[in-house]
């Protein structure tokens, strides 16, 4: 049971209403997974909260929409049937009403907002009987690299996650500000160079969801998409194993190609992948060195001789590189000196 999945119970009726009404009337029932058709507990709770806010606000807005035309008609110029009070300017109880109701609504909304903001905080780990899968995300111009540190693999173009298991993302940018977002699963979060942000998501249904960058970052912005695939545990294990064997090594040469400006597709071609589906390229990397993410995050010049290449082997056998724990604190001047790379020792997984 994840913590947030209880959340949706707060507004079950509203969620149901929203889920049927809006997609049905507005975009047809075949709408792709997204905010309106959530595929995980966070996104579902967000949609519920959305409809809750709409319903609460309707209390103050509907009267405006209904009464304004009525007033306009009843008190139109030339009528003789309605009262005319040109000097009337205040009635106390009316004023109490027009202040009181909005205040009450805002109080209710605030209480819910406070709780929801904490409950759905992207930094908040999701409780689950399964340990979270760690994924490190790096934004480039104009593509995303997904590093699976425990598995020592990485992908470009597709993000593959096991269904039902929480995913803990650590994110950074190798370039300008970007925003990482998988609408069907939940929150978006900014990624910034030299900073790390965190995001916890969970997919509770298998499927393919669109993911993308939401923050404009130049000419290729509109192409900075990826496909998030939620697959079952076996398929995930197979994907990891296949990637280890078939993936191209993420070495200095390939990294250079990867980091160049350009779309995922362009990178895939440059890396020598035969791309069959132009919309949905997948590049798999094996032998992802430890500490790559931290090095990118700190914008340290990558010193590949120090990044330990971890070839294919099992995750647990990955040797921890000797590391400089002093570099742990983000010291801007560290980058000027030699590369300091921290590896997180293998956690028990």
């Amino acid at each position: 049971m994840t913590a947030v999945s209880q959340q949706q119970k707060h507004f079950p009726a509203l969620s149901a209403l929203g889920a049927c009404l809006l997609p049905a009337t507005l975009s047809g029932c075949s709408s792709a997974p997204g905010f309106l058709d959530p595929q995980g507990p966070i996104a579902r709770a967000q949609l519920g909260h959305f409809w809750f806010v709409v319903a609460m606000l309707a209390i103050v807005i509907l009267p405006v929409l209904v009464l304004t035309p009525l007033i306009l008609w009843r008190y139109r110029y030339g009528t003789s049937r309605a009262a005319y009070r040109p000097k009337w300017e205040l009635t106390l109880w009316l004023d109490i009403l027009i202040w009181g109701i909005p205040i009450l609504i805002v109080v209710i909304l605030s209480v819910v907002l406070w709780r929801q903001t904490h409950q759905l905080d992207p930094y908040r780990p999701l409780h689950s009987d399964q340990p979270p899968l760690e994924i490190q995300v790096v934004g480039y111009d104009w593509k995303w690299l997904f590093i699976y540190p425990e598995q020592h693999i990485a992908t470009l173009g597709q993000l593959i996650v096991p269904v039902g298991r929480p995913v803990a993302f650590d994110l950074t940018s190798a370039t300008v500000l970007q925003t990482f977002f998988i609408p069907a699963l939940g929150s978006q979060i900014d990624v910034m160079n030299r900073m790390q942000t965190t995001l916890h998501l969970l997919a509770d249904r298998e499927g393919e969801f669109e993911g993308r960058n939401m923050q404009y970052n130049g000419d290729g912005f509109h192409e900075q998409r990826f496909t998030a695939r939620a697959v079952n545990a076996q398929d995930f294990a197979r994907f990891v194993a296949d990637t280890r064997h078939e993936g191209i090594p993420l070495d200095q040469h390939n990294y250079r190609i990867l980091a160049r400006k350009g779309s995922t597709l362009e990178a895939a071609k440059a890396l020598g992948e035969s791309v069959t589906l132009p919309d949905d390229p997948l590049v798999r990397f094996s032998a992802v060195p430890d500490g790559l993410f931290d090095a990118i995050m700190r914008d340290a010049p990558l010193d590949w001789s120090e990044l330990s290449p971890t070839t294919g082997g099992s995750a647990t056998s990955a040797p921890a590189t000797p590391h400089d724990t002093g570099g742990e604190t983000s010291n801007p001047s560290a980058s000027a000196a030699s590369t300091t790379i921290t590896t997180q020792g293998e956690s028990a997984s």
């Binding site: 103050v60 030339g78 040109p86 605030s110 908040r124 923050q215 404009y216």
Partner: protein, 700 residues
């Protein structure tokens, strides 16, 4: 360095909009460069037509004496509004291009990504800094001194300088159509995308200097307005007797004073980064881009209230006047305005909930934002209650006002949705956000300012605007807005990001097509507006309202002739209550001749505005293109002009009491000769600007 490099800096042939097409003719580059060259040509032609026209009419002297150097707040206000209308036309055309691109944007479209980036950046920058700001500054300039019974602003020459700076910024944005490129960083110009390492070209520099000119101008205007309202009110005009528009002008002025400098600082620091290798917002050497975002929105949120508050003021006047009734809850509305102004400084973080701060911070700012909804909601109900038990006349300003109320509450709803962090995580940066802020800005700012034009135009020019084209324009704006932006709510919820030149999801297409049609309707609305102006000028003799009170107005500005004399009031009026002019009309004593006239001292013409504006433009242009000699030269001119101004001795001139008496008595005779009309004749040629006693007139 060659001489050309010294003279022209980095300005080269490649800045011409058709250069790329000649160098590298592909289908797309030709299309895009043709569009860009067409736009550049419009600018050049427009400038030529104006110059030729003025020369042909032999009006340079008139233009110089009566307008460009005139310290009259009314003239300056009108010039601000002219700038706003010109820039509005350009920005709407750009919007149509963006909408057209997205209407065919499934897997492509006709615009390049670079071109699209420049379009949304110039559109946003213009709409905020060179349409919204000059428009409201112009309206406040024109109306506020008249409403408080003053002859001018406190600092008339400073007012000219404000105008000059805004004009310089607008001109810079216009020139960027001829000598390209402009920034692609959006109206927000977020670092580090706008840093030299990611964007080395001239585009971002254009943006920095255009915006800086505008923020300087607005800060100065804010100071000018606030001081005027504090110091120059007529005797008896206590704060709580000020018309609501003046109240909103005061709150806006205070917001300008405190809200504009953060942006001046942010763009200034960004300029230091770009020009002098500072590292304020870079990713390396200790820079931090989050500081930019923080500073930008410390300006940005107050800014949206700077834009909206004057519109609230306009609507308050319009609702009361066209309902033939006192404003409901005046004191409450004032309180609500003050609440909004103060709270607007406490919510800026809602623009970046997703930047990774703690849930406590996000929740606190989310709640603060919702608090603003309370006074805003109260205002809406106060306006409804103003119509309630009134006699509502659906004239053009009123159509805008009613459209505003009905649409604005929807924008308010999406605003509260965006203020809810957990939901914002889903719709931030999407077209939902674009729909939201247009839903506030178009019914709010644009309708407010257009209502103001329709409402006060007869005061400013002495004849009413033609009603039929006005109605058409108003309805088309409303319809166009709904078609163009309601689909964006849906697109946003479907996950479509803002600022996307194209997309791959076919489900978006129907909605982008509808939005494209909406943009065309808005363009038609703009055309109706221009036609309305044209027809009104053509038929002006039919619609003259020299007596000055075409709408049975309530506040002081209606107690003057239309147009008012340059000194506004022959003697400064004494104020006995709220709705000062209505009080007089109720008491049966409007249009009194003063017992005694005195000489009036008025500020003399000054070329300071033109000089500072021209030098400001030259400096900004030179900085953009690295023409250092010109930077130095314009700085010398500006400083020199400021010093020289200190030696000017003829800063005022005197209008004799005799002349004032003659002018006033002539007007009073004309008023006497004008037949008062009932409100049912408001739109007919019989309306010469005098109303029958109020209550009687308002119920037929």
């Amino acid at each position: 360095m060659t001489v050309t490099e010294i003279l022209f800096g980095r300005l080269g042939w490649d800045a011409l909009p058709f250069w790329h097409m000649l160098q590298n003719p592909t289908f797309k580059s030709v299309i895009n460069d043709l569009i860009a060259s067409g736009a550049g040509l419009m600018v050049v032609l427009g400038a030529l037509v104006v110059v030729a026209g003025v020369s042909w009419l032999g009006k340079w002297g008139y233009l110089w004496r009566e307008w460009l150097t005139s310290p009259d707040h009314k003239r300056i206000g009108i010039m601000f509004i002219v700038i706003a209308l010109v820039m509005l036309a350009r920005a709407i055309v750009e919007a149509v291009f963006m909408r057209a691109q997205q209407a065919v944007g499934l897997n492509g479209g006709f615009l390049t990504a670079e071109h699209f980036g420049q379009l949304f950046t110039t559109h946003g920058t213009i709409m905020v800094f060179f349409m919204g700001m000059p428009f409201l500054t112009g309206v406040i300039n024109y109306v506020m001194p008249l409403q408080i019974g003053a002859r001018d602003l406190s600092f008339p020459v400073l007012n000219l300088v404000s105008l000059g700076l805004t004009a310089a910024g607008a001109a810079l944005v216009m020139v960027s159509l001829v000598l390209e490129p402009f920034s692609t960083g959006g109206w927000t110009g977020y670092a580090p995308f706008t840093e030299l390492s990611y964007n080395p070209g001239a585009g971002v520099d254009y943006w920095i200097w255009a915006v800086s000119l505008s923020t300087f101008s607005s800060t100065l205007s804010g100071i000018n307005f606030a001081v005027t309202i504090y110091k120059k009110r007529a005797p008896g005009m206590t704060l709580f007797r000020m018309p609501l528009f003046t109240w909103t002008a005061l709150c806006t002025a205070i917001l300008m004073i405190f809200g504009m400098p953060p942006l001046t600082v942010a763009t200034g620091l960004l300029a230091l980064d770009r020009y002098l290798d500072f590292h304020m917002f870079t990713t390396d050497l200790g820079g931090n881009m989050m500081n930019y975002v923080n500073l930008f929105w410390a300006f940005g949120h107050p800014e949206v209230y700077i834009l909206i508050l004057p519109a609230f003021g306009v609507f308050s006047e319009v609702f009361a006047t066209f309902s033939g009734k006192r404003l409901y809850g005046y004191t409450v509305l004032v309180m609500a305005t003050i609440c909004i102004a103060v709270l607007s400084f406490t919510v800026w973080l809602h623009h970046f909930f997703t930047m990774g701060q703690s849930a406590n911070v996000n929740a606190a700012f989310g709640i603060a934002t919702m608090l603003i909804g309370i006074p805003t909601g109260v205002k809406v109900y106060d306006w409804m209650l103003t119509m309630y038990r009134g006699r509502v006349r659906m004239s053009v300003p009123m159509i805008y006002a009613v459209g505003f109320i009905l649409l604005f509450v929807l924008g308010g709803m999406s605003g509260v949705i965006l203020a809810t962090p957990s939901v914002d995580y889903q719709v931030h940066n999407s077209l939902f956000l674009v729909a939201h802020f247009h839903n506030m800005l178009i019914p709010g700012v644009l309708f407010g300012m257009l209502a103001a034009v329709n409402y006060w135009f007869p005061k400013a020019f002495g004849f009413r605007l033609e009603e039929r084209w006005g109605r058409r324009a108003a309805w088309l704006w409303i319809l166009g807005f709904m078609l163009a932006f309601f689909p964006l709510y849906v697109l946003g919820m479907m996950g479509m990001p803002r600022r996307s030149v194209s997309f791959t999801n076919p489900a978006y297409l129907p909605w982008t097509v509808i939005a494209g049609i909406g943009a065309l309707v808005a363009l038609a609305a703009l055309a109706c507006l221009l036609l309305q102006l044209w027809v009104s000028v053509r038929d002006r003799d039919h619609n003259r309202v020299f007596a000055g009170d075409p709408w049975d107005g309530r506040s002081l500005e209606w107690a003057t002739s239309a147009p008012p004399p340059e000194y506004n009031f022959p003697v400064i009026p004494e104020i006995y209550g709220r709705d000062a002019f209505m009080l007089e009309k109720d008491g049966g004593t409007p249009f009194q001749a003063p017992t005694q006239y005195q000489d009036i001292v008025m500020p003399a013409n000054s070329a300071m505005g033109v000089i500072i504006g021209a030098a400001g433009f030259a400096a900004a242009f030179a900085l953009t293109w690295y023409m250092w000699w010109l930077v130095v030269l314009s700085a010398v001119v500006m400083i020199g002009a400021a010093i020289a101004r200190g030696f000017v001795r003829t800063t005022h001139y005197v209008i004799s009491a005799d002349e004032v008496r003659r002018t006033h008595e002539y007007w009073l005779r004309e008023v006497e000769a004008t037949t008062p009309i009932r409100r049912s004749q408001e739109q007919s040629g019989a309306n010469r600007g005098r109303a029958v006693p109020p209550v009687e007139g308002a119920v037929q």
